[in-house]
Symmetry: C2
C-alpha cells in the first residue's frame, strides 16, 4: 500500500545533485593504513605512485583530511546524462513479503554500463585526459567496470585497454561487444600479452583467472607504455570518494522526505558500491550525530570480511602492486570455479576494512543459490532483473524485512541495487537448470591464498 506522501521513485532535481564528493577518511579517527612499497615497507609516496596512477588521482588517494572535494564541471555534466539515479520505495516487495519494514533501494543500473561503476570511471578518465595521457589500462571481472571505463574513455577520446577475467570473458561474450562498441580493446586474463600473465599461466595452466591476475597484467601494460596509466574500479580510496555520489544522493533524497534509515545494506567485493552508499551516513556515525546499522554482504565463496585476515597484503596476484592493509583472503586466492555471483576479489577496501575493524559496520556472507533465489524473487516483484552482485544485498534486505515481520518492527531498510543482470544470463541459466551449487571454502582452501607469499616481519597473518 503506497504511503501517499512518498512516491515510488524519488528523483533529485538537477540543482539538488551533489557538487562535491565526500571523503569519509577525513572523519575517521583511525585512518586507513597507507599503501606500502613492497620492497621497503615504507608508505608509498606521490612520486612512487606516479608511473602507475594519474597525478590528480594520487592526490585524492593520499588525501585523508579534506572532507569535501569539488566535482569538476565536466564530470557533473556527464553525471547529468544518467544521474540522479532513482531512490526507489519497494512497495511491491513490501506487500509481497507482508512486512512492516519500509524498504528503499538506490538503483544504479540505469545506464549502459549497467552499474554504479560509471561514477568513478568518468572521473578517472577525466583526470587522465586532463593530464594529457593517450590512454588507460584496467582489469574487469564481471565486465561492469570495463564497460563503464570504455564508455568514459570514448566520451573523452582516450584509448582503453581492458584485461577481463577469463571466466567472465567466456561467460559473458556480449560484454566484449559492448566494450568494442565504445572502442575499447579487451583481452582475456591471464594472457600471454604480459610477462606476469605468462608467468601465471605457466604456474596455473588451467586457471579461469581472477581480478588479482588481471590487475597485475593491466598494471604491467600501463607502466610499459608511454602515455598510459592504470586505473582501478574498486578498492582504492579515490574510487570510494567518487562513489560517494551514491550515498550523497541517497541521503539528499531521504532528507527531502524526512526519512531516517535504520539499516543500510550493500554488497561488497572490493567495496566501491558499499563505500559509496554508506559514506555520508558513516560520516554522521563517525561524528556521533546519528547511528545506523550498516551491513556488508559478501559471497560465502569469497568471504574476505568474515573469514579473511586484517593485515598487509598485495592488491594483485602477480605481486607487482603496493601492499594494502585490508581484510584479505591472500593475494593468491582464486574463488571456486562454480562461483558465478561476482564479488570475486581477494581483498577489500582499506577504508572499509578499518571501519569494520573498528566496529562501525558488520558483515555477513551468503551462499549463491540463496542469492539467485532472492534475485529471481526481486525481478518478478519489482520488475528489475538484478546483477548477481547486487543480489547479495537483496538477499539480506529481504532477510532483514522478514525479521521485521516476525518482530513487528517498522524498520526503514535502504540497500544498494548496484546494477542489472542482462549480461549474467549464463549464471541465471545455471540457476534455472538446477546446475548451480554452493561452495564454502574449507579452512585449508583459505590457506592457499597465503602460502608461499612473502609479506614482511610484524605483519601477522
Amino acid at each position: 500500500m503506497q504511503d501517499k506522501n512518498i512516491p515510488y521513485k524519488i528523483y533529485l532535481k538537477e540543482n539538488e545533485m551533489p557538487d562535491k564528493w565526500y571523503n569519509v577518511r577525513a572523519d575517521m579517527k583511525n585512518k586507513p593504513a597507507p599503501l606500502l612499497n613492497p620492497g621497503t615497507h615504507e608508505p608509498m609516496t606521490f612520486d612512487e605512485l606516479r608511473p602507475v596512477f594519474c597525478d590528480e588521482l594520487i592526490r585524492q588517494e593520499l588525501n585523508d583530511t579534506d572532507p569535501y572535494i569539488d566535482i569538476p564541471e565536466e564530470i557533473r555534466g556527464f553525471y547529468k546524462m544518467y544521474r540522479p539515479s532513482p531512490l526507489v520505495r519497494a512497495y511491491c516487495l513490501e506487500e509481497k513479503l507482508q512486512t512492516p519494514a519500509k524498504i528503499y533501494y538506490k538503483f544504479e543500473g540505469n545506464n549502459t554500463s549497467g552499474s554504479h561503476k560509471l561514477n568513478s570511471a568518468i572521473a578517472q578518465a577525466y583526470y587522465a585526459k586532463q593530464q594529457g595521457l593517450k590512454g588507460i589500462t584496467t582489469e574487469t571481472g564481471a565486465g561492469q567496470w570495463g564497460t563503464a571505463l570504455s564508455m568514459a574513455c570514448s566520451y573523452f577520446d582516450l584509448d582503453c585497454k581492458v584485461y577481463m577475467v577469463k571466466v567472465s570473458y567466456e561467460q559473458k561474450p556480449f560484454r566484449r561487444e559492448v566494450m568494442r562498441t565504445y572502442g575499447a580493446s579487451v583481452t582475456p586474463s591471464p594472457s600471454d600479452t604480459t610477462a606476469v600473465g605468462r608467468k601465471i599461466l605457466e604456474q596455473h595452466p588451467g586457471t579461469t583467472g581472477s581480478l588479482g591476475c588481471a590487475i597485475s597484467e593491466a598494471v604491467e601494460a600501463a607502466t610499459s607504455q608511454e602515455g598510459y596509466r592504470y586505473v582501478l574500479g574498486s578498492v582504492l580510496n579515490q574510487v570510494l570518494l567518487h562513489q560517494s555520489i551514491i550515498g550523497l544522493e541517497t541521503k539528499a533524497a531521504l532528507d527531502k522526505y524526512g526519512i531516517v534509515p535504520d539499516v543500510i545494506i550493500g554488497c561488497a567485493g572490493g567495496g566501491s558500491n558499499l563505500g559509496g552508499l554508506i559514506a555520508p551516513f558513516m560520516g554522521q556515525k563517525l561524528r556521533g550525530e546519528q547511528d545506523y546499522e550498516i551491513i556488508a554482504v559478501e559471497p560465502a565463496s569469497c568471504p574476505s570480511f568474515t573469514r579473511g585476515k586484517f593485515a598487509y597484503d598485495f592488491c594483485d596476484t602477480g605481486m607487482v602492486c603496493p601492499l594494502a592493509k585490508m581484510y584479505t583472503l591472500g593475494s593468491g586466492f582464486i574463488p571456486s570455479a562454480n562461483h558465478a555471483g561476482g564479488l570475486r576479489y581477494h581483498g577489500m577496501s582499506s577504508t572499509l576494512s578499518q571501519l569494520y575493524h573498528d566496529g562501525y559496520m558488520k558483515a555477513v556472507s551468503v551462499e549463491q543459490t540463496s542469492v539467485f533465489q532472492a534475485a529471481e524473487q526481486f525481478a518478478r516483484i519489482e520488475g528489475i532483473l538484478p546483477a548477481p552482485e547486487s543480489s547479495h544485498a537483496i538477499r539480506v534486505a529481504i532477510d532483514e524485512a522478514l525479521k521485521c515481520k516476525e518482530t513487528g518492527e517498522e524498520k526503514t531498510i535502504v540497500f544498494g541495487l548496484t546494477g542489472t543482470g542482462y549480461f549474467d544470463m549464463v549464471a541465471y541459466e545455471k540457476f534455472h537448470n538446477g546446475e548451480m551449487s554452493d561452495y564454502i571454502p574449507t579452512d585449508a582452501d583459505l590457506q592457499v591464498g597465503f602460502d608461499g607469499i612473502p609479506r614482511f616481519p610484524g605483519n601477522e597473518f
Copy 2:
C-alpha cells in the same frame, strides 16, 4: 551548451503522470477500417473476437469514439515502478553535431524488458487476469515484447506462452533466459507444436521465421486451450491506446517547459511506439490546433509504408487471423535473412496506415548499416546503447539535425528512443566485424508476399 532553464532529463512527478490513455481514433474523421472476417468479409464482431482476445481488450479495439479511457489503478501502480520515463535533452549529441537544432528523446528503455512494450503488456495481462483467465499466448520478434509480457504475467500470476521468431531466438539466446526468469515458456517459431507451424515448416523448410508465422502459432495455441487468450504487442488499436502513455508523458513534460516540437520521429514496425509517441500531438493536428511534422522510420528491407500497398491483408502468415486494412508487403513477406535490425512485420497499424494515407504523417526508409552507424555514434555520445529498432529513429533525427546545421534552422526535434540493445550484441558484432550488409528488396521480391494468397473482390493490391 546547457540551456540553464532546461535540465538534461525531464521527469514528471508522480501526480503529473497521465491517469487516462488517449484514443486518437476518436479525433479521426476517416476512422481506421474495421477488421474483417476472412470468410465473410464482414466486420468482425465482439462475439467473433471473443475466442481470441480478452473481452475488455476487444471493447478497446472496437472503440473509435471515446477520446480518453481511464487507466485502472492496478496498472497505474505498476507504471509507477518504472515510469515516468525521462524525456532527455540530447545536449551532448547537439554539441557533437554542432547543430542549432534542439534534440529531445523519450527514453523507454529503463525497465527490464528493455523497451516501451511493457506499457501495453501490463495492461493486457491485467485485463486477462480480470477476466479470470489461466494464461495468455503471444509471439515475439526481437524478444522485447515477449520479455515485457513475461514480466507482466509474472506480476499478475498468469501463465505465459511465447512463440519467438526463430532467427531472433538463435541470435538472442539470453532473451530466453530472461523470459524464463519471469516464468514464461518460449518456443522458437515456426515450430512443430502447432498445426500451422507444421504447415509453414513443410512449405518453407529452412525458414528463419517471421512475426506473421509466430502470430499464427500463438493464436492457434490460445484458441485450442481452455482459459487462454492471445495477446499482441503491436499493430492493434488497443496497443496504440496503451502506448499513448509515451506521448502523453512527452507532451506533459514539454508543456511544463513551454516547448513546442517541430518534428516528431519514431521507428515503425507494427506501429506501437510511433502510434503511442505521436498520439496527443496527432490529436492536436487532427483537431487543427497545432501542426507538427511527423516522420515514421522503417527499414529499407521491410518497407511497408514506403513500398507496401494500402489494402486489406491478413495480419499473419498462416492466414488464421482477421483481415486488416493497412500498408502491407503481403502476409507472405519475410525479410531477407541478413536483416538484423528488427521491425520485421509485413504490415502496419490500421490507425497509422489511415493517418499516413490521409497525409497526416510522412515515412522514410533507411538502410541497416547507416542505422548501426547512428546507433554506435549515439551510444558513444549520449551513453545509451540503443536497440537496432530505436536506432532507425536516431538515424533520421541525426539527419534532420544535420539539415538544420546547413539551413541554420533551430528546429526542436523529438524522437522516441524505444529501447536498449543489450540483447542485440550479435547484430552489433556483425556490424563491428564488417559483416553487415544492406539489402533492398527488388520489386520482384516484394511480389512474393502477395502471390498465391486469396484476398477478396474489390480489395485492390
